[in-house]
């Protein structure tokens, strides 16, 4: 399979779209409540922080 410029653009845009949807679902499952992320948020494996 030939990996061209257009394919990479499509792939990256798909990643971004899917990522936005998944993170929206994640945030929605918290009930759109930032306080739900407060627990253990300084653990080394946590990337999402809300100060």
């Amino acid at each position: 399979m030939k990996i061209g410029k257009r394919f990479l653009i499509k792939l990256s845009l798909t990643f971004m779209l899917v990522g936005a949807i998944v993170s929206f679902i994640g945030f929605a499952s918290s009930g759109f409540d930032i306080d739900q992320y407060a627990e253990n948020q300084h653990h080394w494996y946590r990337v999402v922080h809300f100060e």
Binding site: F15, G26, S30, Y45
Partner: protein, 197 residues
């Protein structure tokens, strides 16, 4: 006419219209042509007859312009030397300021691809770390793991996009920098050493 006769006639006639080194170059050229034809199987006389006669060669050369190399005079007078040394604080600082301006232009130009490259690196690395660590974050809550995974995917996609942007921009910026460097070199070191008449 054999090869030696041809070369003798040609060089004696050329010596009236050309400089000795130019005569030698041209005679060598015709001699090589004769030898090549002889290597292909022709006899010496046949090979010579394939070329133009010495007279017609002279006629064809008469119209063409000749190049003479004049050495550039690089003699600097003592007065100039004194002025250069005494004026160094002035011209030296001006030259340094000029170099700094050129350097800052280069740095300013390359800030754009550097910024895009930094975003690409941060996006790809941050995205990968975020996705890989999201299962661990799930232990703190499913919503946390999902959010982290989604943000990781988004960052990774943005990182790829910025990587491509950096690569395509770098090509343009390299070409621009090369042309700018060539222009500066041309302005600073352009000297004529060959004069056509």
């Amino acid at each position: 006419m054999n090869r030696i006769e041809f070369i003798k006639t040609l060089s004696s006639k050329l010596s009236y219209v050309m400089k000795p080194e130019e005569v030698r170059e041209l005679v060598d050229y015709y001699d090589e042509m004769i030898l090549d034809l002889m290597e292909e199987g022709m006899s010496e006389e046949k090979a010579v007859s394939q070329l133009d006669s010495p007279e017609s060669i002279i006629e064809s050369i008469k119209g063409t312009p000749l190049e003479f190399k004049f050495p550039i005079r690089k003699k600097v007078s003592p007065l100039w030397m004194v002025l250069l040394i005494a004026g160094f604080p002035l011209w030296g600082s001006l030259a340094l300021a000029g170099i700094m301006i050129v350097m800052s232009i280069y740095i300013l130009i390359w800030c754009i691809p550097f910024l895009a490259g930094s975003l690409a690196f941060a996006g790809v690395l941050g995205g990968l770390v975020s996705v890989v660590l999201s299962p661990l974050a799930t232990f703190d809550g499913l919503h946390i793991g999902l959010t982290q995974f989604g943000i990781g995917l988004f960052l990774f996609g943005a990182g790829i996009l910025f990587t491509m942007l950096t690569l395509s921009m770098s090509k343009t910026f390299i070409a621009y920098s090369q042309s700018m460097t060539n222009k500066i070199k041309k302005i600073l070191f352009n000297q004529r050493s060959v004069v056509s008449i």
